[in-house]
């Protein structure tokens, strides 16, 4: 399915930089940002009182699966690990876990968001970028990892602009 550029770029502050929102009434944090707070007893209380909030991108795997029958645009990546990541600030995010063989991913694994290419819409379409998650700790040994899939140690380098790995 083709996406117009507008539908893509209006989400870039969220997908590139994890910009969420916080309710100034009850302090609950949301990602993606919301214009009303679902937690406040009457939602209208929070209308116009949501403020931008930046997520750190740090969290841990809450659940995961290994996708073999790919979503459109992800056919070249199968099998890939899809996870729900519970961020340090609270919100759960859906995204791939990369830089680690599937059999070493586990619930509770500490991960960090990393900026990557998500998918391409054919040769002439929009290229989607956004967050994936890579390990932020040395996972317990399961199988001898291949050199190429060696997980990064703590202090995963911050994503560099212009350098994007799928």
């Amino acid at each position: 399915m083709a996406t117009t550029i507008a539908r893509y770029w209006r989400e870039t502050p969220r997908r590139y930089n994890l910009g969420g929102s916080r309710c100034t009434v009850c302090r609950t944090i949301y990602f993606p940002p919301r214009s009303v707070c679902p937690s406040c007893s009457t939602h209208r209380q929070s209308l116009g009182k949501m403020e931008p909030f930046q997520l750190s991108g740090e969290g841990e795997v809450y659940s995961f699966c290994t996708v073999h029958d790919a979503a459109e645009g992800f056919e070249m990546e199968v099998p890939y690990v899809l996870a729900l990541v519970k961020t340090r600030e609270g919100p759960l995010l859906t995204g791939q876990v990369v830089d680690l063989p599937a059999e070493r991913v586990r619930i509770g694994l500490k991960v960090r968001a990393t900026f990557r290419k998500l998918r391409e819409e054919g040769k002439a379409g929009v290229i989607h970028y956004g967050y994936k998650f890579s390990p932020a700790e040395e996972p317990p040994p399961h199988r001898r990892p291949g050199r190429s899939s060696e997980p990064s140690r703590s202090g995963t380098p911050a994503p560099e602009e212009g350098r994007v790995r799928a």
Binding site: P32, P79, L84, P91, Q96
Partner: protein, 389 residues
Amino acid sequence: MREVAVIGAGMTRFGELWDLSFREIGIEAGFQALVDAKLSSHQLNAFYLGNMASGSLLEQEHIAPLVIDYAGLAGHHVGAIRVEAGGASGAVALHQGYLAVASGAYDYVVVGGAEKLTDVPDFTANRISGSTADQEWESVFGATLPGLWALVARRHMHDYGTTREQLAHVPVQAHAMGAKNPNAHFRNKITLETVLGAGPVAEPLGVFDCAPLSDGAAAVVLGPMDEAKKHQEIPIRIAASQVACDTMALQHRRELTTLEATVTAARQAFALAHRAPADVQVAEIDDSYSIAALVALEDLGFAEKGKSGALFAQGAFAPGARTVVNPSGGLKAQGRPFGAVGVAQAVEVVRQLRGQSGERQVPGARLGLTHNIGGTGATAVVHLFERVN
């Protein structure tokens, strides 16, 4: 609100119906239901059609009047209304029809559900059904519907010790039931080994954990209970019809392994009908994925939280049990033509309560339940049906 009865029921067979068009299956189910209700077309006040995605699947929007037209009813100018709620479209259409008759606005309505999934390649149908989850915050990141359900499965295993083998019992029972249903997409029995040895779709879920892409249509005729005997020897009363919703994306749920929409709809339905889960003899629940069935059994109140896997594996929902689950074969074996599912579940339960289900009859069933969800549970619908004589 007045009491509403199902006075007619009909459905096509489910499966890969390459020789039949959308209009043909819609009309076949509708006329079966009208004939069953001994209702002439001019008595019909309105038509509700549950359909998830005719626009993306057939490139045909505005599909409800099209069915009415080919049913020969355009000349009567019967109002035709399409209802969309992802995989729960059929059940929400039934809710709309129920409300219309209960309120007294209409006397007789047909509620249909129809979907044609095999007119596009499988990967297109999967992409379209995946769009019932959140496109912007799930699909864009590589999530598929089976992938999202696999996340639920993994967490259910982690929190409650549910096993891969327990999940595999769900499709095994579904196929055993489907083998007795002439309308079913799949009529072959399978074994645990078949399920466990099948290729992975989204681990821990494999091919047999996922309901198929099917074509099919179903329809029921609703009317006021106090007129029902004129049309049907055994009218079935709709004892409750409840729709509840939750967050679109799984990531925003309060709990991953509980569908609060199902919990809410079920609680309200049982309260309205003054009944409890233990009173239900036959239930058609949403087993679009094996894990979805286990979670539903807990959310509907048929199993304690975390115990559904062990109970199911023991045969606690098989023929002979207090509550028999999915005698039709469910979405897994009877088939999954999205918009038709919720209505087909009603057809199965109505026939069970009338005692017309042949080989798969649940003996003496008087109270039946249907449960249908859209996406990963952003919409859940629960109906209770009761035989009153």
